[in-house]
């Protein structure tokens, strides 16, 4: 009775994940259920193929970049903790969290961390700056074959020109933050988790 899925997740693990990510108990068990249903190999970890099996993600132009964000550098498997840690970036920011103890460290779903997540989608080689080449590659992923190289190149140039303040022809994280300072990141990079 009950299920294999919920019995593999121990109470201590749930408590730790709760502390780290801020999800509620019931959200964690439901997400564990989802994790388990994606895990076709039933080995407690997800591979890139497991993600690619989701049709709506497979047709997302940035699907591969998003999938990549779940995997730490050089790894091919993500366990439930890692899965939750990444999803935690998309938790909405609650008002009472803003008053929490600052020494507890920045929560995963802070504005800064949400922006960092998006920044890393652009930063293909993880060198903490977005070069013109990287920007072009991501743009190409988003538009497919529908825009010419020249046009795309000029879009990339214009974007870097507007964002780059220190003249290194790359966009650093702080320049990225500056460009997006008026955007409601908290809302656009949040998912409404229920209960």
């Amino acid at each position: 009775m009950g299920s294999r899925a919920s019995s593999l997740l121990r109470e201590e693990d749930i408590e730790e994940i709760k502390k780290e990510t801020g999800f509620s108990h019931s959200q964690i068990t439901r997400l564990y259920s989802r994790f388990h249903s994606l895990d076709k190999g039933e080995n407690g970890a997800l591979s890139r193929e497991d993600f690619q099996r989701i049709p709506e993600l497979a047709i997302n132009p940035l699907g591969d970049r998003i999938i990549n964000a779940f995997f730490p550098e050089g790894e091919d498997q993500v366990n439930f903790r890692g899965f939750m840690r990444t999803l935690a970036h998309f938790r909405p920011v609650e008002d009472n969290e803003k008053n929490k103890d600052p020494s507890a460290g920045e929560p995963l779903n802070s504005r800064n961390n949400k922006l960092l997540f998006a920044f890393r989608l652009y930063d293909l080689d993880r060198d903490d700056k977005i070069s013109r080449d990287e920007l072009l590659q991501v743009l190409r992923m988003m538009v497919g074959v529908n825009i010419s190289d020249e046009q795309l190149g000029s879009i990339a140039d214009r974007t870097i020109q507007e964002a780059d303040t220190n003249g290194d022809m790359c966009i650093s994280f702080s320049e990225f933050i500056k460009v997006l300072e008026k955007v409601d990141v908290e809302q656009k990079m949040s998912i409404r988790f229920l209960h």
């Binding site: 132009p61 998003i66 998912i191």
Partner: protein, 395 residues
């Protein structure tokens, strides 16, 4: 005896519900709300909205915040997508006292565990053996039916299917029987399990269409063909659409032949939605008789998850459930209209079936159960986004 079962089950469910309310226990997990709430806005709407409220770099075609849309949509689909959940049994609000139908059910009370244990005893100890006694009858009838004349064979077949129905304790309610399929037409229905065939065939005679199987299914198929003409295809022939279409057309042209029963989804879906109908059967140009089948998940999970359970295992599960309760609606016949192509016609029929059965109407292909999604859908998304970019330039 089946009615007795049915009412007992209704009573038991009500008692469980009442009991839970008294104790204020979490008997119900509100799964019907889903894990997340999604925004229904389209790509263009969202990106324009972001641009307007954002950096205000007037007239810029590309904004670095555009990525947020794809990012959020992508992660939303990782948490909850419309397709993959259709290929496993539906998560239920309340536990139906069966071992397999709830994935996230926690231990709630000892009383419930005892009830479940009792249920297991009854189901495997009493119901199952009783149902098994029907099998020899079915097998004998099937084996001898081949030698009978066709008018007798119809009666025999109906009787055979009705015995099967009793073997499963299927409690079926047929609605609108005046719309039952007639000769020279095609009957289409949503597909949840092989039992769909038994349910429909016990109320009327059909010619079946399907792939030739091996094993137990193959034996049954060969026995059935001896009695009246069914259309079985080799796997290799299925790929040859013209051959398939020709055989179907020939069959419906002959008014003496039985209506063909087709499941256009091509695979079993979990009865919460209707997925894309393959257009092949809608190209033939004869009358289509749509049928909607909806199972009641409280008494048994009818969906056949063929990647998890084999046929024999599945039948065991079916015969050890409380009952298979379902409703069948015969919808009024439909034909292709002027200027409508096969795909539009198929979608129209699908929408009617989904509406009647209370199922979600999806455009996704049931073949995604086993295959990867086609690149062309990603290209559509890319085209949409490109329009937003390039369109901005023309302003």
């Amino acid at each position: 005896m089946s009615w007795c079962c049915f009412f007992c089950l209704q009573w038991a469910t009500l008692r469980m519900e009442r009991g839970a309310k008294e104790k204020n226990q979490q008997l119900y997990k509100p799964y019907s709300n889903g894990i997340i709430a999604k925004e229904p806005a389209s790509l263009e709407q969202e990106i324009q909205e972001m641009r307007r409220s954002g950096s205000g770099l007037g007239g810029a075609e590309f904004d670095m915040s555009d990525i947020f849309y794809f990012c959020r949509r992508g992660v939303e689909s990782i948490v909850d997508d419309e397709v993959t959940k259709r290929f496993t049994a539906e998560e239920l609000e309340s536990w139906n006292l069966l071992t397999r139908s709830n994935y996230n059910f926690h231990h709630i009370s000892t009383r419930l565990t005892v009830l479940w244990g009792l249920g297991v005893l009854i189901r495997y100890g009493i119901l199952l053996p009783l149902r098994y006694t029907n099998i020899p009858g079915v097998v004998t009838v099937l084996c001898f039916s081949g030698r009978m004349k066709s008018f007798l064979s119809e009666k025999v077949h109906l009787m055979c299917y009705r015995i099967c129905v009793r073997a499963l304790t299927a409690i079926i309610t047929y609605h609108d029987s005046e719309n039952k399929p007639k000769n020279g037409g095609i009957c289409v229905a949503n597909h949840t399990s092989p039992i769909d065939v038994i349910i429909l065939a016990s109320d009327g005679c059909y010619a079946m269409v399907g792939q030739v199987h091996g094993g137990l299914m193959g034996v049954i198929q060969r026995a059935m063909v001896k009695a009246c003409p069914h259309i079985w295809f080799e796997r290799s022939e299925v790929k040859d659409r013209h051959l398939v279409a020709k055989r179907l057309s020939d069959h419906v042209a002959d008014k003496s032949k039985l209506p063909i029963l087709i499941f256009p989804e091509g695979t079993c879906i979990n009865n919460t939605s209707v997925m894309m109908f393959k257009k092949g059967s809608f190209e033939i140009g004869c009358t289509v008789y749509p049928v909607a089948i909806k199972y009641d998940p409280r008494f048994g999970e009818a969906f056949w998850n063929s990647s998890k359970f084999g046929m024999v295992n599945y039948l065991l599960h079916m015969m050890s459930s409380w009952a298979i309760v379902c409703s069948v609606w015969y919808l009024p016949p439909m034909s292709r209209e002027e200027g409508e192509d096969a795909v539009q016609f198929a979608n129209r029929v699908k929408a009617a079936i989904a509406r009647k059965g209370g199922l979600a109407d999806l455009l996704w292909d049931g073949g995604l159960k086993r295959e990867k999604v086609k690149e062309v859908f990603k290209e559509e998304q890319q085209k949409l986004y490109s329009k937003v970019l390039v369109g901005g330039e023309e302003d």
